[in-house]
């Protein structure tokens, strides 16, 4: 069944509809792939083998009965372990929720299933989506299928590694500051974060509520369009979801954007960027240009990256982003107190305050504690104006920069990550170094914009290099079509990682 594993979601859906492969076969192939390779990779926290098989068999029965089975009919999909499902566990890769079983299913997952997708299981992540390497998982660190001594990125590292290694054709991730795009770049797959509010957050365990967004991780842009069209749309359960019709992204993803004006933010093509990545991006830009696109230089002054004398990087966007997301996280994670659900200490001796403190101390990992403490600090009386309020002002300036840039171009072409996949353990002792993994991705979460990362090259060391395309608010179609243009005129997607199931 290696054929099915090599197919994209779109190809697999069509093959199932045509009767070339059954949904049951496809799902069993994925389950078998996970069985064979996940010992090395640790992409999955939980696999719903029985449920998935039954779901797939039901799709086959419906197909046999001549029913239509939806835009993802029979396609196995993995979901990140921070999306609630009324079956199995939803752990956020945290000891706190190790045994948590949600009584309801996230809207995005419900929409996948309604479109005929088969839910394979929950993928590994940095605890509560806080991290850029999936090393902050309380379960196990996920490995990069291109080099298992390296991280897959994060926090949706499990989803990216599972799709890259052919364990499944597609997965959902969530992106607060780059958590879909960065691991997609490091694993050589496509990761798409739609406009904030485009996909319902209902059932997505909150990290930074004003930044969080669900999106697909796939092997090509067409699949990103397909899954996006399925999961996007207004949800009465999420007041921040956008109430606008959803275009059929998949239907027109092949239509090139003509004319296409590509903006290159000059603040991001500096010495701070890895030379190999810069060169790959410039080659990609030239490729676009050769195919008729116009390259323009634009400026994002408040997302500027400064390099100190000692080489340390800094940016307003990163500072602003971490203040906002940590403040929100400190409040969002307050509910994990051991009272109603989640980890409860057995050391409290009947005292409620001690029970609460110990449960949180035992249930949360170091990175989560660090962010909760920093966030609590920035919201405290006397510090609010200096940190949170100021960050909101900077956030507006960052968003305005993007608005002005999009007056002159259709999409921005920029790096997804400052480097290729790094060695496990190389940044775990240096939180700032880990935070700087977001340096090219978190600005657009602050601005709420759609962004996609797609593989464009391999480094000399054989690791994938990603390119990030950013669009204006609700510019999903433009981003997807521009990305698809590149995909069809280049051959970067043809590379395969060293660990694959197929």
């Amino acid at each position: 069944m290696t054929d099915a594993l090599d197919m994209t979601a779109t190809q697999l859906r069509d093959a199932i509809a045509a009767g070339d492969v059954s949904a049951g076969e496809a799902t069993r192939a994925c389950l078998d792939a996970i069985e064979r390779t996940d010992g090395q990779l640790a992409c999955f926290n939980e696999v719903y083998a029985d449920r998935a098989t039954q779901q797939a068999d039901r799709i086959d029965q419906r197909l046999a009965a001549g029913e239509s089975v939806g835009a993802l009919g029979g396609v196995p999909v993995a979901v990140k372990d921070n999306m609630c499902t009324a079956y199995g566990r939803t752990t956020c890769a945290s000891r706190m929720l190790a045994e948590f079983r949600a009584p309801y299913t996230a809207t995005a997952v419900t929409k996948l299933e309604a479109a005929g997708a088969v839910i394979l299981g929950k993928t590994n992540m940095d605890e509560f989506a806080m991290g850029s390497s999936t090393e902050h998982s309380a379960v196990a660190p996920t490995r990069n299928p291109w080099d298992t001594s390296r991280v897959p990125g994060g926090s949706s590292g499990g989803s990216a590694a599972a799709v890259a290694s052919r364990q499944c054709p597609a997965a959902l991730g969530s992106d607060t500051g780059g958590s879909i795009r960065q691991p997609a770049a490091l694993c050589g797959v496509v990761g798409f974060k739609p406009t904030y509010g485009r996909v319902s957050r209902y059932g997505l365990v909150a990290f930074g509520s004003s930044l969080d967004q669900i999106g697909p991780v796939t092997r090509d842009v067409r699949d990103a369009a397909l899954l996006s069209a399925v999961i996007a749309g207004h949800d009465p359960h999420d007041s921040t979801s956008i109430d606008r019709p959803v275009p059929d992204y998949a239907a027109d993803v092949h239509t090139p954007v003509e004319p296409l004006r590509i903006g290159m933010p000059r603040e991001w093509f500096t010495d701070a960027l890895d030379g190999e990545i810069a060169a790959a991006l410039r080659r990609a830009a030239k490729t676009y240009e050769r195919h008729g696109a116009e390259l323009v230089h634009v400026s994002l002054p408040h997302s500027r990256i400064d390099v100190a004398d000692d080489g340390a990087l800094s940016s307003y966007a990163v500072s602003c982003y971490y203040i906002v997301c940590m403040a929100e996280a400190s409040s969002n994670l307050a509910r994990y107190d051991g009272v109603q659900y989640g980890h409860r200490t057995d050391q409290a001796g009947g005292d409620i305050v001690e029970m609460l403190c110990r449960s949180r101390a035992e249930g949360f990992g170091e990175e989560v504690k660090r962010r909760v403490m920093l966030g609590t600090y920035t919201l405290s009386a006397g510090y609010y104006d200096a940190y949170y309020n100021k960050a909101l002002k900077v956030r507006r300036l960052i968003a305005r920069d993007f608005q002005q840039a999009f007056e002159r171009c259709d999409v921005l072409l920029c790096p997804a990550t400052p480097s290729v996949a790094f060695e496990l353990g190389s940044k775990t002792d240096d939180p700032m170094a880990m935070y700087l993994q977001d340096i090219y991705t978190n600005s657009l979460n602050l601005a709420g914009l759609p962004g996609l990362s797609l593989p464009i090259a391999l480094s000399d060391s054989g690791l994938p290099i990603g390119m990030q395309l950013i669009g204006p608010a609700l510019g999903e179609q433009t981003v997807l079509r521009a990305a698809r243009m590149y995909e069809t005129i280049s051959d970067a997607a043809d590379h395969k990682p060293s660990v694959t199931a197929s």
Binding site: N82, M83, C84, T90, C92, L97, F100, A102, P103, Y104, A106, R201, Y202, G203, L204, V205, A206, G208, S209, S210, P236, H237, D238, S239, T240, A327, E328, S330, S331, A334, R335, D337, V339, Q340, Y341, I352, L356, T376, L379, S380, A381, Y384, Y388
Partner: protein, 495 residues
């Protein structure tokens, strides 16, 4: 020294009112009191991971109604903030509330206050702000071992109305609290039932003391979660007394400057307050805008639509009843405790009935029956048309007052017939046939010689005996005789 000491209590009040919406503030669970614990809960009000709040517009409208009735400024733009604190009955460990942009600000409530001399004056209490938030659940200690948490109440819409410290005594404080209860009931915004915790008080109290040419201020004491008028009254009376005594012991040390604000709790059994903590130790609530909710934009149209539903408020109606219907202030007060009773009176008067006659029925038999049933007079089930017809029959002498009360009672008991049909059916129409009346009078005189003797004598039994004979005649008429006619005839016959 005590001669020139002038002590003025300075009292402000926070009132929490649960709004009478069908569903909760941010989810569609029923807003219902008294059911089995945790039967009206869902992922949202349980604060489960991934659940998101969605605003209930009906709650915003009820809150706006109250804010507008309090003459508050209702802003064009308001928003939701998270107030962070850890407590087991607060599932998210933050409460969705409103911090710097409340739904209503800078309002006032005119309150009738009855002085010690019985004179009613009007006190205007300024309202600082009124904001909307979600209620917490309840810790339960009486079911099995340990503490349980009931989250049926979690997420119920709660309006917090904060007054300026404008009340200068227990009487004003109670009058304000009662006026607020009447207002929110009047508007249909809340049942404001104290036993059900639908209305709760948090007074803050200190004293302004003028003595020896100097002004002293005692520490401000805030008392949380009082859920009866009695507790409110006792708390404030106790605090005034306690703070006075403390100040007399140590006028310099027992001051706001030195001690700041304090939290005290009300001890129900001891009817006193006990120290809880200094205000400085209070929580840092770490307010910030709730990113899960969109801000609320209030258009002029919306504001006007909501404002248009308010209608006449209690004090205005009270004044109109005095001016237009010639009622005594006490009568007007009694008829404006709720909206339905005054509505009934207006409807009866609209049929052409004499207001005073209607009021006698409402505050006589009506008040008694309402008291028995523990409901408003206006909720007894008597219609304005029936009340008006009955009042007109009494006025025309077609039934006497006693018969009128019987008919009113029948109507309140659900009698479907009209007052006239009831009167005819039950033989309650006044008898005006003078021959018939004379016959009853003669029979009563003949049957009671001793009473006749007493009634015609000069002794002290004269009045009583006359009354007895009146009663005999009324009895024979089975209540249908007009008492004034009987009295006239009987006097003539006995003279």
């Amino acid at each position: 020294m005590s001669d020139d000491v002038i002590i003025t209590p300075i009292i402000g009040l926070e009132i929490h009112v649960e709004l009478a919406t069908a569903t909760k503030m941010f989810c569609r669970c029923a807003n219902r009191f008294g059911d089995e614990p945790n039967t009206h809960v869902c992922p949202v009000c349980l604060g489960l991971p991934g659940a998101l709040p969605v605003m209930n517009a009906a709650a915003v409208e009820l809150a706006m109604t109250v804010a507008l009735a309090l003459d508050c400024t209702v802003p064009d733009f308001t928003k939701w903030d998270r107030k962070g604190y850890y407590y087991p009955d607060l599932p998210k460990n933050y409460q969705i509330s409103q911090y710097d942009l409340p739904l209503g600000a800078r309002g006032r409530l005119a309150v009738p206050v009855t002085g010690d001399d019985g004179v009613v004056t009007t006190k205007t209490v300024r309202v600082k702000r009124a904001h909307l938030e979600e209620d917490a659940g309840k810790n339960i200690h009486d079911r099995g071992a340990g503490t349980g948490v009931d989250l049926n109440r979690a997420g119920v819409p709660l309006l917090e109305i904060v007054s300026e410290p404008d009340m200068n005594g227990v009487a004003e404080l109670l009058a304000y609290a009662r006026a607020m209860q009447r207002l929110v009931r009047w508007l249909g915004a809340s049942e404001a039932n104290m036993q059900m915790g639908q209305m709760r008080f948090e007074p803050n109290i200190n004293l302004n003391i003028e003595s020896g040419g100097r002004t002293y201020k005692t520490p401000i004491v805030e008392v949380k979660n009082l859920n009866s008028f009695r507790a409110l009254e006792r708390t404030c009376a106790f605090e005034i007394q306690r703070q006075t005594a403390e100040w007399r012991k140590d006028p310099e040390g027992f001051s706001l400057e030195t001690l700041g604000k304090q939290n005290r709790g009300y001890d129900d059994a001891g009817e006193k307050t006990v120290f809880q903590r200094e205000k400085e130790e209070a929580h840092d609530y770490r307010y910030f805008p709730d990113p899960d909710l969109v801000p609320v934009t209030i258009s002029d149209d919306w504001r006007e639509t909501v404002g248009g539903t308010i209608g006449e408020l209690p004090l205005a109606r009270r004044q109109r009843f005095c001016d237009a219907y010639g009622l005594a202030p006490a009568e007007a007060d009694a008829l404006t405790q709720d909206a339905a009773t005054g509505d009934l009176l207006d409807a009866a008067v609209a049929t052409g009935a004499e207001p005073k006659r209607c009021v006698n029925l409402l505050l006589g038999r009506g008040a008694a029956m309402a008291n028995e049933r523990d409901c408003a007079i206006g909720a007894l089930g008597v219609t304005g048309v029936a009340l008006g017809a009955l009042a007109q029959m009494i006025d025309a002498g077609e039934v006497n007052a006693t018969a009128g009360e019987k008919i009113f009672a029948a109507l309140a008991d659900g009698d479907a017939d009209s007052p006239r049909q009831i009167a005819e059916r039950d033989g309650l129409l006044a008898v005006r046939d003078s021959g018939q009346l004379a016959a009853w009078v003669d029979a009563a005189i003949a049957a009671n010689p001793q009473a006749v003797a007493d009634a015609t004598g000069d002794g002290k039994k004269q009045k009583k005996a006359f009354g007895f004979l009146m009663g005999q005649v009324m009895q024979k008429s089975r209540g249908a005789a007009q008492p004034s006619e009987v009295q006239k005839l009987l006097s003539e016959k006995l003279s």
